[in-house]
C-alpha cells in the first residue's frame, strides 16, 4: 500500500510540468460538469418542477451525482485511459512488476484536471445542499458519506468492467464514452420521469439509480416515492460495493486474454 502511495506521488511530481494543459482541461471539465445543471436551470425557469421535483431537489440530485462521480474519478481516472496505456506499451511493464496491475494503472499518471472536477463537485454540492430541503442529521450524514463512496463504486464498476475489454479489443473507448454518458445523462434526473421499464433497467441492469437518485431520494425524504423498498434504498452503498467486486473479478478474468501490443 505504501508503495502505491509512492508511485502516486511520483506521478504527481511528473505532472507538475504540464501547467497550461491543466488550466485548459480544468475549465473544460467545469463546463462539461455544469452543462447538465444549466439545462435544468433554464428549463425550470419556465416550468417550476419535473415530476414533482423542484429546482433545489434537482440541484441536490445533480450535485450528489457529481460528488459520487468525483469519488470514483480521484482514484480510478486512469482506468478510463487503459486503452491508451496499453497502446503505449506501458501495460506490459505492469505485468512484470511485483504489484497489482490495477494499482499500477491507477497510479500511472496523475491527472491534474481531476482536481478541477472535485472542486466543481464540492462547490455545486455546497450550493445545492444549502438550498435543498435536507435534514443533515448524524444518521443522514453517515449515509451521505457511505453513499457517495458506494455511488462512486456503482458507476466505477461498470467503467472498470468495460475498460477491461481493452485487453481483448483495441478500440473500446467509444463503449466507455457511451457508458460515461449514460451515467451522466440518466443519472441526473429522478428516474420516475423515464417510466417503469427504464427505471428498472437503470436499477438492476445498470446501477445508475444507486449513484444519486436513490440516495438523494432518501436524504430529501422522498424515499416513499421510490420504486425500490426502503431497505434497498438505505443499503445503496452495499449494492455499489457488490457491483465493484464483480467488476474486479471480470477484470482479473479478462487479464488472462491480454494480447499485448505489437512491440
Amino acid at each position: 500500500m505504501r508503495v502505491a502511495w509512492e508511485l502516486e506521488k511520483a506521478s504527481f511530481r511528473g505532472q507538475l510540468e504540464y501547467r497550461l494543459n491543466f488550466v485548459v482541461l480544468t475549465v473544460m471539465g467545469i463546463a462539461y460538469q455544469s452543462s447538465g445543471i444549466a439545462f435544468i436551470w433554464v428549463v425550470l425557469h419556465k416550468f417550476h418542477s419535473i415530476a414533482g421535483w423542484t429546482f433545489p431537489d434537482l440541484a441536490f440530485l445533480y450535485a450528489l451525482r457529481l460528488l459520487a462521480h468525483a469519488a470514483w474519478l480521484v482514484p480510478f481516472n486512469q482506468v478510463d485511459m487503459l486503452g491508451y496505456t496499453i497502446r503505449e506499451g506501458k501495460f506490459d511493464r505492469f505485468l512484470v512488476r511485483p504489484l497489482n496491475p490495477l494499482v499500477q494503472v491507477m497510479t500511472n499518471r496523475f491527472q491534474m484536471n481531476v482536481v478541477g472536477d472535485v472542486v466543481t463537485a464540492a462547490t455545486l454540492f455546497g450550493i445545492a445542499a444549502s438550498i435543498a430541503d435536507v435534514d443533515f442529521s448524524p444518521v443522514h450524514l453517515l449515509y451521505l458519506v457511505l453513499t457517495v463512496i458506494g455511488g462512486g463504486l456503482a458507476e466505477g464498476a461498470v467503467i472498470l468492467a468495460i475498460a477491461s475489454l481493452n485487453f481483448r479489443f483495441l478500440q473500446t473507448w467509444a463503449a466507455q464514452y457511451l457508458v460515461d454518458n449514460i451515467y451522466l445523462m440518466f443519472g441526473s434526473y429522478p428516474l420516475k420521469v423515464f417510466g417503469a421499464t427504464t427505471s428498472w433497467i437503470l436499477t438492476w441492469v445498470l446501477p445508475v439509480a444507486f449513484v444519486a437518485y436513490i440516495p438523494s431520494s432518501v436524504l430529501l425524504g422522498r424515499a416513499g416515492g421510490l420504486h425500490v423498498s426502503p431497505v434497498i434504498a438505505w443499503g445503496a452503498p452495499a449494492v455499489g460495493a457488490v457491483w465493484f467486486y464483480c467488476a474486479y473479478r471480470i477484470w482479473r478474468w479478462q487479464l488472462r486474454s491480454y494480447q499485448s501490443s505489437g512491440h
Partner: protein
C-alpha cells in the same frame, strides 16, 4: 540440476478480428465478427539451467517476443507449461516479478519525467530491497555503467545509450535470479554496445544470473552466448551451442593472401594446383581469397604451400560469422538436426 526455466509444448494462438471491407458493411458486421487465428508459437520446448546465458534469436514475426512474453507472465499460453524457478508466471505474477528482471529495448521502465536516481529509488521500494543492498548495488552499477554524470537528469532528457544503461541497472538493482533482455543494444553506438555487453557478461559471470537474450544483432550473440535457441514460424529450429551450428552450416573458412610485387611491379598469380584441398574463390590485384574446409584441410598446410612458392606480403583468416549461418537457416526453414 533442474532447469530454472522450463518451457514445455507451449502454444500461443491469437485471434485477430478481420476488418470487413466494403463501402457500407452495415449492421450485420457489427454482430458477426470474423476472426483470423494466428498461430504465433506452435509447440516450443526448452529448458534453461541456472547461470546460463542463452541467445534467443529468430526473424521478425518468428514468435520470439511472444515466447518471452509468456515466460515473463505478460501473456497466457493457449496450451503447454511455462515454469520459471518453480513459479507459473501468469498465475503468480507478483511472485514471478520478484525474481525476474526485464529490459525491453524499445520501451523504458524508468519514470519519464523524474530524475534517473528517483527511478532507482522507486524500484528499490517496489522490490523491497534492503537499504544496504540497494546502496551497494547502486554504487557498483553507477561505476560500471558510468552513470554518475546524468543521475540527476530527468529520463526524458537522456540519450538512448544513457537511458538503456539506466534500464539495465534498474533491472539488476534487486538482484533477480533471471534477466530477460529484449533487444537491449538496439540503436546504440559501438561504444555503448560494448559497455552493455561487458555489463551483461559480468552479471552472468559474477552474480550467476541466468540471462535470456533476444536480439537481432548477432555480434551480441557471438560475444556473449554459449548457447542459442533459434526460432522461426513458431518452431524451434535449433537449440544448442554456436560452434556445431557454424561447423555444420558454414564449414568454410577463407584464407586471404596478399602477394608482394616483384621489381617490375608485376604481381604473381597463384596456380590452383598448388593449393590442393582448397579452392581459389577469387584473385585480383595480388589478393587471393582461398576457400577451404577447416576440418578437412589443416590451415597451416595451406599456408606452408602458399608460402613455399609465392612471395607472401600478408595473410589473414576469415571466420564464418553467425549472421551468414543464420541467414542460411532462415532461408531453408528446416529444423537443424
Amino acid at each position: 540440476m533442474a532447469p530454472v526455466i522450463r518451457v514445455e509444448n507451449v502454444v500461443k494462438e491469437f485471434r485477430k478480428t478481420r476488418r470487413q471491407e466494403g463501402a457500407f458493411g452495415g449492421v450485420r458486421t457489427l454482430f458477426t465478427r470474423q476472426y483470423d487465428t494466428v498461430l504465433a508459437v506452435d509447440g516450443v520446448s526448452f529448458g534453461i539451467e541456472p547461470g546460463e546465458l542463452v541467445g534467443y534469436i529468430g526473424p521478425n514475426g518468428a514468435g520470439k517476443s511472444t515466447t518471452i512474453k509468456m515466460m515473463t507472465g505478460i501473456l497466457v499460453p493457449t496450451s503447454g507449461t511455462v515454469e520459471v524457478a518453480g513459479v507459473v508466471p501468469w498465475r503468480d505474477r507478483e511472485r514471478n516479478a520478484m525474481q525476474i528482471g526485464v529490459v525491453f529495448g524499445q520501451r523504458t521502465q524508468l519514470w519519464w519525467d523524474l530524475p534517473l536516481i528517483e527511478s532507482f529509488k522507486l524500484i528499490g521500494k517496489l522490490y523491497r530491497v534492503p537499504q544496504p543492498t540497494y546502496e551497494r548495488n547502486l554504487e557498483r552499477f553507477v561505476e560500471i555503467l558510468d552513470m554518475a554524470e546524468f543521475l540527476d537528469r530527468p529520463v526524458r532528457q537522456l540519450s538512448l545509450g544513457q537511458r538503456m544503461r539506466g534500464d539495465l541497472a534498474a533491472s539488476m538493482l534487486y538482484e533477480p535470479r533471471i534477466l530477460y533482455l529484449d533487444e537491449p543494444t538496439i540503436g546504440l553506438d559501438v561504444v555503448a554496445k560494448e559497455s552493455m555487453r561487458t555489463f551483461i557478461e559480468e552479471m552472468n559471470r559474477d552474480s550467476g544470473t541466468t540471462i535470456v537474450l533476444t536480439t537481432h544483432d548477432l555480434a551480441d550473440v557471438e560475444r556473449l552466448c554459449s548457447r542459442i535457441i533459434l526460432i522461426d514460424h513458431g518452431h524451434v529450429l535449433y537449440d544448442g551451442s554456436v560452434e556445431p551450428l557454424k561447423a555444420k552450416y558454414a564449414p568454410h573458412r577463407v584464407l586471404v593472401v596478399k602477394l608482394a610485387a616483384d621489381d617490375t611491379g608485376r604481381v604473381p598469380v597463384i596456380d590452383p594446383s598448388h593449393v590442393r584441398g582448397a579452392e581459389i574463390a577469387e584473385q585480383e590485384n595480388g589478393v587471393a581469397r582461398i576457400r577451404f574446409v577447416a576440418s578437412e584441410t589443416p590451415v597451416h598446410d595451406l599456408i606452408a604451400a602458399v608460402n613455399a612458392r609465392y612471395p607472401v606480403a600478408d595473410l589473414s583468416i576469415v571466420e564464418p560469422d553467425l549472421e551468414g549461418v543464420v541467414r542460411q537457416i532462415y532461408g531453408e526453414r528446416v529444423p537443424v538436426g
